[in-house]
C-alpha cells in the first residue's frame, strides 16, 4: 500500500573509509533485503574496481523495508555515497533525492575534511542530519573526543549523537529508529503532475539508457508517455523498478520514491543527469531545480592505444559520461599521438578511475598524458584565451599575462603536525596560510590559498606522509590569480613531442625539467641509436639526458625443441612493440606520457 508517510529518503555521508558501505551491509541484514547466502562485505561496492581499491566510487541507491518499533513498515531509500574528495560531486547529487542524511564519523579518526565538507553540503540541501559515531568496537575508539568534534561542527546536543559499530551491528537498529522518527517523509503529491529528477544514469547494451530517479510528484508506470524536460523528447516507459539493490521491476513508482525508469532512450546525450522527467501529456511548467554544472578541475589528453580505435574510444567515453556526468571531453588532435580527446576530471583519482573503467569496461587500451589545470592567458593583442592543453600554450613572446586557478584548501590535522603541513604548503607548494580554526580539543583546521596545479601533483601523499596519515584535506576552486608560468617542451630525438610538454611555475622549471628528462630516460626503451631527451623553455634547453644506443639485442639461445616457441615469442614481442607509439622513429611506451606524475611518486618512496 502506498503511503508517503511511511517513506524515508536518506543518504549516508562521511569522510572516506569511515564505514558508510559497511553500515549499509548491516542495514541490508537487519531488513532481510539480501539473501544471506549472497551477502558479502561492502555489498554495494559492486564495481570490480571498488572492491579492489576498497573504496566507493559511485553513489549507489538501495530500497529497504524496515519494521519499526511503532509497528509500521517503512520504505527507506538509502543512497550510499563515496567519501573521496574527487567524488564529492556524487554526494551533492544524491542529496537532491533525499530528505535526510546519516553523518558517520569514525571514532578512531574523528572529524575529517570531507566530514566537514559533506556536512555543509547537507545543510545547503536542507537535510535532516543524524550524526553517528562509528567503529566504537575498536580499542582505540575515542568516542568522547569525536563527539566533541561533532558538536562543534553541528551544534547538536550530546544525546542526539548515536553510537554504532557498522562492523558488529551495534546501534544500527537505534540508528534506523532515529531515521524513521527524525527524518521527515517526502512532501510530494501523488495526484500532481509527474516530476522526477534524474540523479544518475547508466547505459545497458540491451536496455539502452537506464535513468535513476527520485519521483517528487505524480506517478509513473510502464506504458506511460514521458518527456525529458530539457529537450522535450518523448518516450514510452517500458519498465520501472527499485534497487534491492539489484534492479527489480515494480508496477509503478510514486511521489517520494526512488527507483529507475527504462524507456527505450537510445541516445546517451538525451538523458542528462539533473534533468526532469515529466508526463508528455500533462507536463509540468517548470523543471525541478537541477544541478549546478560541474567544472572539471584537471585536464589530460586521452588517446587510443592504437590510432584505429579512436571511434571506439569516443563511444566508450560517451557511455561512461552517462554514468559519470562530471566527466568532460572534447576531440583534439596531437601531432605526436594523432586523434584523441582532451578530457576534464574532478581530480587525479577521478582521472585514474576513468582510465581504468575505459580499459576494463570497454576493453580499450588508452594513453593518458600528464594532467594539468585550466590556465587563462591574456595576449599582447588583448585577446583572452583558456588553455587546458599545454601544447596549445601560446608562444612566450605573444603573452601578456597568465592566470592560474587557486583553491581554498582546508586541512584538518592534529595540532602536532601543523608546523610540518604549513611548511609543506608554503615552501614546497606555493600556497599561503589564510586562517586557522580549532576543531575539537587538539585538532586544528588550516585554511590556505594554494595553486590547484600544486595540489594535483603528489600533494595528497606528501600531506599524509608529513602528518603520519592523520591530516585530511578538502579543496574548492576559489579564483584565478596572475602567475609567472612557463611552458616546458620536451624534445625526443630532437623532435618536440607535444603530448609531453607541460606548464610549470618559473621557479620550479629547472628542477622539474631535470627530473622529467631523467624519468623519460628510464621509461623509454633503448633503441639502435642514441636518443637525446631535452627540455626546452624560453627558447633554451634547460635539461638534457641521453638514452644510450642499444648495441646488443641478442637472441642468445635456440636449439631443436625451441624453434616453434622462439618464433612465437618473437611474434609476441613484436606485438608488444606495436603498443608503443612511434614518434620520430622513437617508440614511446604509454607510461612515458605520465612521467610528470611519476616523479612525484618517486620522491614519495624515498
Amino acid at each position: 500500500m502506498y503511503n508517503p508517510d511511511l517513506i524515508r529518503n536518506i543518504c549516508i555521508i562521511a569522510h572516506i573509509d569511515h564505514g558508510k558501505t559497511t553500515l549499509v551491509d548491516r542495514i541490508l541484514e537487519i531488513t532481510n533485503t539480501v539473501d544471506k547466502r549472497k551477502m558479502r562485505d561492502q555489498y554495494l561496492d559492486m564495481m570490480e574496481m571498488e572492491r579492489e581499491r576498497g573504496i566507493t566510487i559511485k553513489a549507489h541507491p538501495v530500497k529497504v523495508m524496515y519494521k519499526a518499533d511503532d509497528g509500521n513498515v517503512y520504505e527507506i531509500n538509502i543512497i550510499d555515497t563515496p567519501g573521496h574528495v574527487d567524488f564529492s560531486y556524487e554526494v551533492g547529487r544524491s542529496m537532491a533525492a533525499c530528505e535526510g542524511a546519516i553523518l558517520l564519523v569514525d571514532a578512531t579518526q574523528g572529524v575529517e575534511a570531507q566530514t566537514v565538507a559533506h556536512t555543509y553540503l547537507a545543510i545547503e540541501h536542507d537535510l535532516e542530519i543524524i550524526p553517528a559515531i562509528n567503529k566504537i568496537d575498536l580499542p582505540n575508539a575515542n568516542v568522547e573526543e569525536t563527539a566533541l568534534e561533532i558538536r562543534d561542527l553541528l551544534g547538536v546536543g550530546e544525546n542526539e549523537i548515536l553510537l554504532v559499530s557498522a562492523k558488529e551491528g551495534t546501534g544500527v537498529k537505534e540508528l534506523l529508529e532515529a531515521v524513521v522518527k527524525r527524518v521527515p517523509p517526502p512532501k510530494g503529491r501523488l495526484d500532481g503532475k509527474l516530476a522526477a529528477l534524474i540523479f544518475d544514469a547508466k547505459y545497458d547494451n540491451y536496455k539502452g539508457v537506464i535513468v535513476h530517479v527520485r519521483i517528487f510528484d505524480g506517478r509513473v508506470k510502464p506504458g506511460d508517455k514521458i518527456m525529458t524536460f530539457s529537450n522535450r523528447k518523448v518516450y514510452e516507459v517500458q519498465e520501472v523498478g527499485v534497487f534491492t539493490p539489484e534492479m527489480t521491476p515494480v508496477d509503478s513508482l510514486s511521489a517520494g520514491e526512488v527507483g529507475y525508469i527504462i524507456a527505450g532512450i537510445k541516445e546517451v546525450s538525451d538523458a542528462k543527469v539533473g534533468d526532469t522527467i515529466t508526463s508528455a501529456n500533462a507536463p509540468v511548467e517548470s523543471p525541478l531545480p537541477g544541478y549546478r554544472e560541474v567544472r572539471p578541475m584537471v585536464f589530460a589528453g586521452m588517446f587510443p592505444g592504437l590510432p584505429e580505435y579512436y571511434e571506439e574510444l569516443r563511444k566508450a567515453l560517451e557511455k561512461l559520461k552517462l554514468n559519470d556526468s562530471a566527466l568532460y571531453f572534447e576531440p583534439t588532435i596531437s601531432p605526436a599521438l594523432g586523434f584523441g580527446f582532451r578530457c576534464g576530471f574532478l581530480g587525479p583519482l577521478h582521472m585514474d578511475v576513468v582510465r581504468e573503467r575505459i580499459e576494463r569496461e570497454y576493453d580499450l587500451a588508452v594513453i593518458l598524458t600528464a594532467p594539468n589545470v585550466r590556465y587563462k592567458v591574456v595576449l599582447r593583442n588583448g585577446q583572452e584565451m583558456e588553455i587546458t592543453d599545454p601544447s596549445k600554450f601560446p608562444d612566450d613572446g605573444s603573452i601578456l599575462e597568465v592566470y592560474e586557478p587557486f583553491v581554498d584548501l582546508s586541512i584538518i590535522t592534529p595540532v602536532e603536525y601543523m608546523g610540518a603541513l604549513i611548511n609543506l604548503v608554503q615552501n614546497e607548494k606555493r600556497g599561503s596560510l589564510r586562517a586557522t580554526e580549532n576543531a575539537g580539543r587538539n585538532r586544528i583546521i588550516l585554511r590556505f590559498d594554494a595553486p590547484l596545479a600544486e595540489i594535483i601533483y603528489d600533494f595528497f601523499d606528501r600531506m599524509k606522509a608529513v602528518s603520519r596519515g592523520y591530516a585530511s584535506m578538502d579543496y574548492e576552486f576559489k579564483e584565478y590569480r596572475k602567475s609567472d608560468l612557463v611552458k616546458v617542451t620536451i624534445l625526443v630525438n630532437r623532435e618536440p613531442v607535444d603530448a609531453l610538454s607541460f606548464i610549470v611555475h618559473r621557479s620550479k622549471a629547472y628542477s622539474v625539467a631535470r627530473k622529467v628528462v631523467e624519468k623519460l630516460k628510464e621509461l623509454i626503451p633503448r633503441h639502435q641509436f642514441e636518443i637525446p631527451i631535452q627540455a626546452k623553455a624560453d627558447g633554451r634547453i634547460i635539461a638534457r639526458s641521453d638514452i644510450k644506443a642499444l648495441r646488443k639485442d641478442v637472441l642468445a639461445k635456440c636449439y631443436g625443441g625451441d624453434v616453434t616457441r622462439k618464433l612465437k615469442l618473437l611474434e609476441k614481442q613484436k606485438e608488444g612493440k606495436k603498443k608503443l607509439r612511434e614518434i620520430g622513429k622513437v617508440r614511446i611506451p604509454q607510461e612515458a606520457f605520465l612521467a610528470l606524475l611519476k616523479i612525484g611518486e618517486e620522491e614519495q618512496n624515498r
Binding site: 642468445a556 624453434v563 616453434t564
Partner: protein, 370 residues
Amino acid sequence: MYVHVPFCVSKCLYCDFYSVVSGDFETYFSYLERELELYHDVLADSKVVTLYFGGGTPSLVPTLFLEKVVRKLQTLAVGFDPIEITIELNPETVTREKLREYKLLGVNRVSLGVQAVDDEVLKGVGRIYDRRTLEKSAACALELFENVNFDFILGLPNETDETVEKDTLFLDRYPPKHVSLYLLEVDEKAPLFKRLESGNLSLPSAEEVEERHSRFVIFLREKGYVRYEISNFAVEGWESLHNLRYWRNEDYLGFGPSAGGHVGRVRYVNVSDLKTYYALLDAGRKPYEHFHENAEREEELETVFMGLRTKEGVPLEKLKSIGGIVEKILQEFQCCLKVKNGKIFLNERGMDLSRFIFERLVELLEEDER
C-alpha cells in the same frame, strides 16, 4: 637425435627447461623406450649421425639407463653409427667413474654447465656447486675427453666485472675446444622472474652486460675460438655436429618431455610434463602437444631463422618462396646482413642484434601475407 633427461638435483632460479627434482628413473626410461618404439618405422630407415643427451641433468642418472637407450636405438635404427655422442654434465654430478662409463658407452663429447665461476654468482641463482667442485669436474672432463664444451651465462644477479674476469681466467686454466656463451633470459615462468619483480634480486644493467659480453667475445677470439653461431664458439673443427643439424634445419628426432623433432616438413614438440607424457604413451600415442606440417614458406622461415644464427649462413636457393622478404631485410639491415657465395649471413654486429633482426623478419613476413 636428442634424448631429454628431465631430472635435476635441484632447480636453478632462471631455469625454463622442463625438469623435476625427484623422479623415478626406472619408470621414466621404460616410457622413453616405449616412445622410441613408437618411432620404429622412422628409425628403421634413418641414419643416426649424432646423439645428444640433454636435460635436465643427464649426468644425474646412473649410466645404466643411458646404456639401455643406446641399446634400444641399436636394435631399432639399423644405421645406428653416430659420429658424435654428447652428454650434458652438471658439475655436482661429475665423477671420474661416471665419465669412464660414458666413454665405454661411446660418448665422445661432453658439455659441462659451468654458467659462472664465482661462488656468489652461482649461489645467487641456486646452482648447487662451488668453485672447487667446478674446477675438479672441469679438469676431469678435459682429462678424459678431447671434445669438451663449457656453458657460460652472462647477466646473472651478483655478476660484476671481476666475476666475469674469473670466468675468463678459468678458461685460461681449463681450455675446452668449445664454449657456449649465453645471455640470461628470464622466462615469466622461471622462479627468478618473481624474485626480480619483488625486488629481492636485481640484475646487472643492460649496458654493463653488453660491455662484458663484448669483452668476453674478444677474449674468446683471441684465444682462437671461432664464433660459428651467435652463442657458440669453437676451435676450428670442433663445432657441435649435433647442434649444427638444428641450425641447418636438417632432420632430427627428439625424445622425452619437451623435446622436439623435425622430419621433412613436419615439426613436433612433446608435452613438457611427465604425467601427460606417461598418459599419452599409456594410450599408445606419440606424446607430442604440437604437431604441424609446415607450408613451404613456414619451412623456409624456419630455415632462415635458424640458419642466420650461424656464421656459414643460409644458401639463398633454400629461400626461394620468401625471396622478396629476404631481399627487403637485406636492404634494411645492410650493416648486419651480408651475402657471399650465394649465402646470406649475419656479421658480428648482426649477431649482436639478432633478436631485433629476427623480429623484423617475422613482421615482414606477416605484412607480406596480408
